[in-house]
Symmetry: C2
């Protein structure tokens, strides 16, 4: 303070207030200021007060980059998700981010669009920030990504699908089980001729697992399956219409249809309605995803809700446990396998 105003800064610096300046103002050592932020309980009240005052007076904001370099662990967590704006992952991201930031961690986010190369470059960039942890979606990665994830000394969580046989921590649900749930429900409702409509996107392997769950239940019940595959890569909404038109005329006509997702189901719902079908009496319809529009349709859509928010929150809690930011035996669910919830509305 009594020093001459530094004539010209020796080199660079962002021109920000530093830890050392705070230390000088509070008349303590730099390390005490550091402790004030990181282990306050190790600083005596008198010092604490002086530091507090100096921090306030100078408007000091800790430089997390420098801290990250010195400690080799930044309070940053990277997440790679297929997409941000779809109806599926947004809640996961939000819950993940909120849970993290509640504990002082920040979210570094990138989307992969189901493209392994994009995922790889995101993971590479994230690793450069020496993140405290990394979260990736699904278990499909390029070999280079697998290698980076394995070699990086960073906790990795794979979300969405639950793959107990894989090494990284898994937080998700079983798609197969979704098919089982949907089909069982329709059986309970008294339906016997139950069809399944696949997704038009050929890369949607999860949807095929749901179909397999459906097939299994029908086989157990001794009933004949009926799987419809829309034209590849046609828009989901259109694919649903297409499927509905085809199945309405099938012989024998199905009493109920499970669609690979709510988009398909919505397309089908409208097609059926425009064709004069009385839903759900003429045909019961189920979707998957519980997209926001599901209860705005007429009839509203019976569907299965994936635990999107739960996955995001639990993944964050696991990460925090791993980092020691929260107790390992706290009030966190033990299991990483979550369940989809059957949402019964009007369409089935």
């Amino acid at each position: 303070m009594s020093q001459a105003k530094e004539p010209t800064r020796k080199r660079r610096s962002a021109g920000r207030v530093t830890l050392n300046e705070v230390a000088r103002a509070a008349d303590v050592s730099a390390i005490s200021v550091s402790r004030y932020f990181n282990q306050p309980e190790q600083v005596s009240p008198p010092l604490r007060e002086r530091i507090e005052a100096a921090v306030q007076a100078l408007g000091y904001v800790p430089n997390l980059v420098a801290g990250g370099l010195a400690s080799a662990r930044g309070r940053i967590v990277g997440m790679v998700i297929p997409n941000i704006s779809g109806p599926i992952f947004a809640h996961t991201i939000e819950a993940f981010s909120d849970t993290l930031s509640r504990h002082g961690y920040q979210l570094l986010l990138a989307s992969s669009y189901f493209d392994e190369a994009q995922e790889e470059s995101a993971v590479r960039a994230f690793l450069g920030w020496s993140p405290a942890a990394l979260v990736v979606t699904s278990h499909f990665h390029s070999p280079a990504t697998e290698k980076m994830l394995a070699e990086a000394d960073v906790p990795v969580v794979e979300i969405w699908d639950y793959r107990p046989e894989r090494a990284p921590l898994q937080v998700g649900f079983l798609h197969h089980q979704v098919g089982v749930q949907a089909c069982r429900y329709l059986l309970e409702q008294g339906h016997r001729r139950i069809a399944f409509v696949q997704n038009s996107a050929p890369g949607d392997f999860s949807a095929l697992e749901r179909r397999d769950g459906y097939l299994e239940v029908l086989a157990e019940a001794g009933l004949e399956p009926c799987v419809f595959a829309p034209a590849a890569d046609c828009a989901p909404f259109e694919a649903g219409k297409q499927a509905m038109v085809a199945l309405m005329q099938a012989e024998p006509r199905p009493q109920a249809i499970i669609f690979a997702n709510d988009n398909l189901a919505a397309g089908a719902l409208l097609a059926g309605q425009r064709a004069g079908l009385k839903l759900p009496d003429d045909m019961a319809i189920m979707g998957f995803g519980d997209y926001p529009f599901a209860d705005m349709l007429l009839p509203s859509l019976t569907t299965l809700r994936p635990p999107s928010r739960e996955i995001g929150e639990l993944a964050a809690l696991r990460v925090l446990q791993h980092l020691g930011a929260i107790a390992a035996d706290g009030e966190v669910p033990r299991l990483n396998l979550l369940a989809c919830q059957l949402v019964v509305r009007e369409s089935a």
Copy 2:
């Protein structure tokens, strides 16, 4: 390589391959490896090849934390958005993130839930990472946030609303204009008794600006306005129903209704339908937002689509221009004021 395997690492380090190790392997100086990554054109082809080989062989991933500290500018951009999972901002985030990462920048994301305190803590945390730029939503900030943003030596962009009178760079649209557009369209369709239904969320000031646009147009046309305010804080879907029920019985009954957003409009649509109204003949309905369900309703919803994706992309381009990552006179739109697009469907 011929050295003994380091007995125990001197102190900490993440155990990762460093720039120096690459330099040693390639038999060049560290700074040349640094240049290889940052200004490749300044490195001669022979060196470049040797470095390339060493990088590959060692699987080197640059430590961006160290780089950020040394250069006082990390390739990271912070964004604070009200929410991630709503239908509104997701596209903005996605476009922003994608545009950034295409140029080697990463997105640090946090949500504020329209809460100034949460925004403040997010901004503070972000500043600690010495971001290359900061993006915040709207122009409502706490005094402390304003101060941090002003003092931080970082480009700041405010998105969503367009407020030319404010100092930070603005990228967005005019809500007032949205009300004007909607009302003009309905007038063109021959409607004369046009109502406006406000949002039930009292904090939604933007919706009030849209209402004012509506009022202005009606006044110009010499027509009587009719504004309905649903019970405060009731769920938007319910609020829409409530408004519809009330306005159906109004004397004289409106010929058309503009809703503050698509959620309200959807609630109204269903309420009208269940009451046996023939839409849009008995009543034309318009929303705002073009939420994903808008074209799945029956009748599908005529609405105004905010330039969500465009805002995200343009904000990113502005940031990149400011950082010199792309040419300032490139193929980027000159104007930061974007427009909402009228999406005519069946309901009006």
